[in-house]
Symmetry: C2
Subunit: 376 residues, 2 copies
Amino acid sequence: MEKILNIGIVGCGGMGSGHAIALQSGTGNALWKVKTDDVPKFPGALTTDISKHLRLRGIFDIKPERRQWAQERKIPVYESYDAMLADPDIDAVLVATPNHLHKEQSIAAMRAGKHVLCEKPVMITSEDLEEVMQVSRETGRVFYPRQNREWDEDYLIIKKIYDDKLVGNVFNIKSRLTGSRGIPGDWRGIKEYGGGMMLDWGVHLIDRILQMIPEKVIKLFCSCTYITNKECEDGFQLHMTFESGLTVDIEVGTCHFISEPMWCIYGDRGSAVIHNFQLDGKMIRLTSWEDKDAEPIAAGAGLTKTMAPRSVGESVEERPLPRFDFDRNTLYRNFAEVCMGTAKQIVTQEHALRVLRLMEACFRSNESGEAVLFEG
Amino acid sequence: MEKILNIGIVGCGGMGSGHAIALQSGTGNALWKVKTDDVPKFPGALTTDISKHLRLRGIFDIKPERRQWAQERKIPVYESYDAMLADPDIDAVLVATPNHLHKEQSIAAMRAGKHVLCEKPVMITSEDLEEVMQVSRETGRVFYPRQNREWDEDYLIIKKIYDDKLVGNVFNIKSRLTGSRGIPGDWRGIKEYGGGMMLDWGVHLIDRILQMIPEKVIKLFCSCTYITNKECEDGFQLHMTFESGLTVDIEVGTCHFISEPMWCIYGDRGSAVIHNFQLDGKMIRLTSWEDKDAEPIAAGAGLTKTMAPRSVGESVEERPLPRFDFDRNTLYRNFAEVCMGTAKQIVTQEHALRVLRLMEACFRSNESGEAVLFEG
């Protein structure tokens, strides 16, 4: 094995073609509709040049139009997935097929001696993942969950606020993502293919919360929506209670024509909000709990003193959200280095298993209408 | 009894003094710190001149400074609550004392032949309210819950959107009110006086939802916060599931330095938001489900098509929130007319009982950590 890992992509749809562009351009930036040469690098000095770690060796897809798309971009195309696995030049496979194929294809790759970077949800069930983990142990091959949203800037800002107690002791976090287009109209709306928004954006939003908060999730309550799709949930609301009493609300929706803030974090010394992917938001921090007597504010046909806001400059200060540079290609790089044996796996199999188990608990809660004990 | 109802106020603190000003000025407008002559009328042509229905006969409060406040405003002051009840000129009593006194004082008033307008929470427990309702039946006196937030404009806008299906079939509603000053530092933070935010703003927010949605509440899940007060909840999150599957989330908080939208309403044909008491907000309505293929949007270190917003003018339209005139003094007027026997009671005892029972179910859910069946 040379120092640059040769990787093949199986499944060249939305995600697979994004990876192809990201890897071919060496930027890590998945811009579907741009010519490879025009794909811009991520901003910031810390982002890894992934061309020094990963080389796109080729793709395979069952659809002729996708094979043609790759050929037009001068990406080699394998005749079959078996042919890819039989190629001794291939060190690793990136699995980006519909969810129900991840298991079989990951196992086949590892049995053929290839490492695996597997799109999320890595598996449809925790049982499947346990089988795959067993194969990973048996073969000594890396199985790496591609849960990459731990390196989204919005999340990292909230994580910094949490870690550094910038709003004091945090008691509630809200993480939301909503759109208005329903579930994408392909296999993502079909149950047996692993459809539904829980196994879609749900994975990322849950993944990040479990990564951020080093506590057991004692209990959860989850209710799903089926507004635009009767078979698969097109959204859900999840309320989690952690060991310390901290609560987290996660909400995903696809019939939401107006979006509530993407992140809110509430501590005993302040609050912060991120409204959207453009990172509009702010942080309000307490400078002194004592304040001059509140002036009542007009509230409908009455008044309220209790809910009168504090004045910035009096007992609270407004601060911009913390911003900082980071390596936007951490996951690609870490995968390559783990395969080379030079780094520890950041997104572990055990972590992905915990995320899957939590999602299974969500479905149980939704079906029963009950709060469900998780790690309590 | 003459055509104008003579009313006495017992308890002249925050709410009681507001009522005193509202009634003395004849405006219905509770502006504490303004001279009575300067209290402006509510806007709109439909608001009742309550001076034609209610006359403030006097107040009683145990605190000398409040009696003095009333005297300075030329409001007659009774020597005792008993003296107020003994006055044959008094037709009705407005009970605005701390919550734990409502029961005894309401019963005493009805036994003395007076009608009662009782501040919210009308009672601390549903059992207490059942006793009071029994006395109301025995004495033939009106007992009227002063749950007045059903005539707040923000609520009426959401109710219109719901009633007229302006965003299609509604599947989720959020109703929130948050501040950052903790529970007011008087009896409101003490359990035995009926403190805590559930019996405070919780009453109003729950009241309105139960008034708006003509369905059984099958189940609820509630978790309270105790950030600024260990004895009484300083906030709560409540998730209610109605018979049709519609869900409603109510949130009250007092350690929230940033406020999320006050109202969100989501239907299968649109969404609407009201951000604050100033009624900033909008309505987005679907004009056609079909849309040109979504352009992926930048989402952290990746892209998303699923969550790409629709463009206004393409398949959705932006509309202002519906606005309309209404009688802001409906509750005062209805109380007076019910006492006169000329109208049906709008905020019924049975409705207040349902609100109290629902809040008791919330406390059970919070204590057990379980979802609780309510009317299911």
